[in-house]
Symmetry: C2
């Protein structure tokens, strides 16, 4: 496995040259206090060090050894032991203050915007998704608590979550209730002291039990006995593993136990637990029966993060496959005169970089990774506008981040998984052997398409709830955004036509197919279910074309200006050489020529309608 090298240059290019994050920060008063370019550059640099040096090196043994489970002597519940090195790495991470990164500054958080913390998440996940899940889930739970919790709960719990002394989990799924949370059975009985007694069993709880921290704070969905049926009767509770005394010391076990851990395809070092609540004391977060809304505050942040997991695995796959491809020598170039690094007539085989199909796999990974990174940066920026702005930028940010959160989750994880499989293919047989590390990426990345709402659920959230649910208004905000951008480029002196024309074409098709589905939806909502997955990908390829056009534009500007004479990249100074911009520009050209056409088949499939999907009887399957 190639050593992980965090793509800091690309991150800073996106932040300060493409999306002008520094300008945004200066304009938004709260962020202006908390972050500037110098701070953010330093944060990412420090995170890169930890990811490269502390976390990446434990990932392989984390996969081989995994977490282990030992039943308690009482026979009720058991202990989870993490793999060697995880406790030490988590301590280093927590002591560095990283658990506080995106936290509320009133309780010890650093208040970094998502546009910065998203890159931190990427680096952690590229280093080791299993490790990263512990702090990322904790940060997500903290976010929900910060937004909806009482002052008392925040004082008591948030500070400890930010310091990394305690961790957190999200307890949603039950054995019979996954995508369909409305039917959960976990009960919450009101107590005279204002707390609730929580009883029920949750499965698939990431980080539900482990030995990294002294306490684990569970955010649990449950129902009061008299609650309305379905999703409208769900409330959210904070349930600590160990009770917390008034002096903040830990008390007895709060009738919370880990019943088992799952044995999984991948993320072996992440504890996936059955968590049983047997009359545990819980505290209401937010209002009764509004639990789903409170949980979704976190879920929107998490889902972008899960999308980033997919991309982070794709990035690692690319780095590994590229190193292999440059070193591996097999066969000769088909056209040595056209390939710079071919040995031509010499006896020695060429590096496999000369083969078109190997270049296809590598460039597709590169284009998807950099495109996903750019698009995630764009969406994170919209989320920051939604959180920190007050004017129409806030409105637009709220709409675009809500619209594009399911896109980020599903599209980036689908492409990320594809990239891990492609990287494995570049390595040939070695890609299938465990010691090379490449196959672990495939196994680890696969879960991101499933958890936090399967990608099918994301597609329905996008198309049914957002696009159709808003009668097209939400997708129109995106279409206007890109149209406005296209207008700015139409009279440009730059050679942007090769991007702008196909972008306009893709945008028109997205608009048309959205209108078509809106019209169909009033006749038969099954058309929406049948189209959702393909629609999400049409949107994804189009949105990615948008950010690739922006990256190409900046690259062309820099290549045309005198600034680009710099020989080597100097990330700290925001100086990049011609090589960087040429690489960007040529990857953009590759994306437009050979990846954007994927939307054509998807459009044709959507237009074919749902008839053939629903005509066939279940018995004929």
């Amino acid at each position: 496995m190639a050593d992980y090298k965090a793509p800091l240059t690309d991150m800073n290019f996106l932040l300060y040259q493409v999306f002008n994050a520094d300008t945004m920060w200066q304009q938004l008063p709260q962020l202006n206090e908390q972050v500037d370019q110098e701070t953010a550059v330093a944060i990412l640099q420090e995170c890169a060090k930890i990811a490269e040096q502390e976390i990446a090196p434990i990932a392989r043994q984390g996969d081989e050894i995994g977490v282990s489970f030992t039943l308690n002597e009482t026979g009720i519940g058991g202990q989870v032991t993490t793999a060697p090195g995880y406790k030490e790495a988590f301590n280093t991470f927590a002591q560095g203050g990283w658990c506080a990164l995106g936290g509320d500054t009133n309780y010890g958080g650093m208040g970094m915007p998502k546009i910065v913390s998203a890159f931190v998440e990427e680096m952690l996940c590229s280093a080791d998704i299993s490790f990263a899940l512990y702090p990322i889930l904790t940060a997500g739970a903290a976010l929900s608590l910060a937004k909806h919790g009482s002052e008392e709960l925040k004082q008591r719990y948030l500070t400890k979550l930010y310091s990394g002394e305690w961790a957190a989990s999200m307890c949603l799924t039950e054995a019979h209730a996954g995508s369909d949370l409305g039917i959960i059975k976990t009960k919450a009985l009101p107590q005279t002291d204002g707390s609730y007694q929580i009883t029920g069993s949750k499965i698939f709880i990431t980080g539900g039990e482990h030995d990294l921290t002294d306490n684990i704070i569970h955010l649990v969905l449950a129902k009061l006995p008299d609650a309305p049926d379905g999703p409208k009767g769900i409330s959210l509770f904070l349930v600590p593993k160990f009770s917390v005394k008034n002096n903040d010391e830990l008390g007895a076990n709060n009738n919370v136990s880990c019943g088992a851990i799952e044995h999984k395809m991948g993320i072996h070092a992440s504890a996936t637990c059955v968590i049983n609540f047997d009359g545990a004391q819980g505290f209401l977060i937010g209002e009764l029966n509004k639990g789903l809304a409170c949980m979704f505050t976190m879920m929107n942040f998490e889902r972008i993060g899960v999308g980033i997991q997919g991309m982070s695995a794709g990035e690692r796959s690319y780095q590994n496959a590229l190193e292999y491809a440059k070193e591996r020598r097999q066969g000769k170039s088909l056209n040595p005169t056209a390939v710079k690094n071919s040995d031509g007539g010499k006896k020695q085989p060429d590096s496999i970089m000369v083969h078109g199909d190997v270049r296809r796999m590598l460039l597709s990974m590169k284009a998807f990774n950099e495109g996903s990174r750019a698009l995630s940066c764009y969406i994170a920026q919209q989320l920051d506008y939604a959180t920190f702005a007050t004017d129409e930028l806030q409105q637009k940010g709220e709409t675009l981040s809500a619209l594009m959160t399911p896109l980020a989750k599903a599209f980036f994880t689908d492409l990320g998984f594809e990239s891990t499989v492609a990287g494995q293919q570049v390595l040939g047989g070695h890609g299938y052997i465990r010691e090379w590390g490449q196959e672990q990426l495939v196994r680890d990345a696969r879960i991101a398409q499933i958890y936090e709402g399967t990608n099918g659920i994301q597609a329905m959230d996008l198309l049914l709830r957002k696009v159709i649910g808003s009668k097209g208004k939400m997708i129109n905000v995106f279409i206007t955004e890109v149209s406005d951008y296209i207008k700015t480029q139409q009279d440009s002196a730059l050679a942007m036509n090769e991007f702008i024309e196909p972008l306009q074409s893709a945008l028109t098709d997205l608009d048309d197919i959205s209108q078509l589905l809106l019209a169909k939806s009033s006749d038969d909502l099954n058309e929406i279910g049948a189209a959702a997955n393909d629609y999400l990908h049409v949107f994804g390829y189009t949105a990615m074309a948008f950010v690739w056009a922006k990256m190409a534009q900046v690259s062309l500007e820099k290549l045309n200006s005198s600034d680009s004479s710099v020989e080597n990249n100097d990330t700290e100074q925001g100086e990049y050489g011609n090589d960087f911009y040429n690489s960007k520009l040529q990857t953009a050209q590759y994306y437009y020529a050979r990846l954007l056409p994927r939307r054509l088949s998807l459009l044709a499939t959507i237009k074919a309608g749902c008839q053939t999907l629903f005509a066939i009887d279940d018995e004929l399957f």
Copy 2:
């Protein structure tokens, strides 16, 4: 994991109603002696029993326990122990005579044609790819020996391979030589007795060492000291693990040792070995320096078989996901009036079969599995014509089987892997948990895209060697075949237009893109390398449309005739109910409406050319 149920009905439908195998057998004298419908039906039925009852049940523990390796006390080499149950299952299999199925009748083989043995391979692989590899590799090696070996070698070794007393392996890859066999270093020194002394180290040897049989016969590629450079200096040798005395008793170890086994992503119960030859005695197979040609006799059979592995995993995935989907209840139908099995307004959730995206995944798997099975049957039939016919059918069979072997290998394994991933997605979180068995299918299926020549190599074999190499003649044989078929349907009284028109359109596009690439190839062969993978898939979707049209045609004929009043399928009698034909017809409609359009994006990508792939410098990756 759902119990495996072999798709015998579908297999017999293909053999006797779509491809008229019985007629073919009667027409070809050698096959007429060896096989008839009654025999073949019985063979497949018996194989189904073994696959369902003896092999499928050991697959999960085979994955969990895997093969183990114990170093010998001498320190040179070691022993491989297979997982519990494998030895017993192999004995049952061998004693049933299954190792002789496709074997030469002069040496104890049963002489079954590929069109039958391909289905046997499918069932074995659906039950457990790891198990199936031991006999399948042995059969492949036996085929090469039967075709190219001396009478003495055949008498001595073939009989034991057919009886299952001994097994065989193929030893091609070396650490530095995978796709590029021309650079192998294993040496063969001629001895005065006519044998050769073989020295070298081979890696990734499937079944290179195990405890299932008393002896293992290695077919080894090696070079004589004075051999020409590259592929033209490679010879093929038979190297037994234990020497065989003149009385056919086993002698001493023949300086063949297993140095290690690989730890892999999947197929844990298949031993993937490093095999060291340290002056081992070997016997030439075929002519000196013609070893690759002898090996490729086997490879063509094997590669169709590897394609079938992909489909077999897809079939298993479909069965498992379908059972889960029917039982799992989550959410409500979006349009209950349009869905028969929705509970409508009732409180209980519907089965997830009501959701369009779940139906999409299931129907795609169904269409790909049945389409791949039909296409593999078609290709196997062409291979049988190539082997057993003498007239123009032999010529056409040779051309089409050569053309379509790389297609079968790469296309079926790509689709099969996709189907295992889709099945996993249907199961949601449970698809990621080992005990459900679904994730094993993903891990096991993945290797089939890599070994026996990566799918990228297959694509180059198809486009560069076959399509371009024959100046378009080979692809024209296929295009004529389909054109001729279309003509027979144009005046049909059946409602075939919905298939024939898009089939003609796809065929025209395939013809056009082949001509375009032929024209481009004279300017820049890199265009071929860049297009190969996409071209293979365009060909695949078109060829699959061809066999789906044939299946739809038969189904329409049967539905229009009185024969189709049968209520239940009776495979033995070749009687199928309307349900069977309706299911086929509706799956064909689904394929044409929603899967065939995939070719559109691929065509666009090919037309975009190789410019963006090769313009970018290696340093800018």
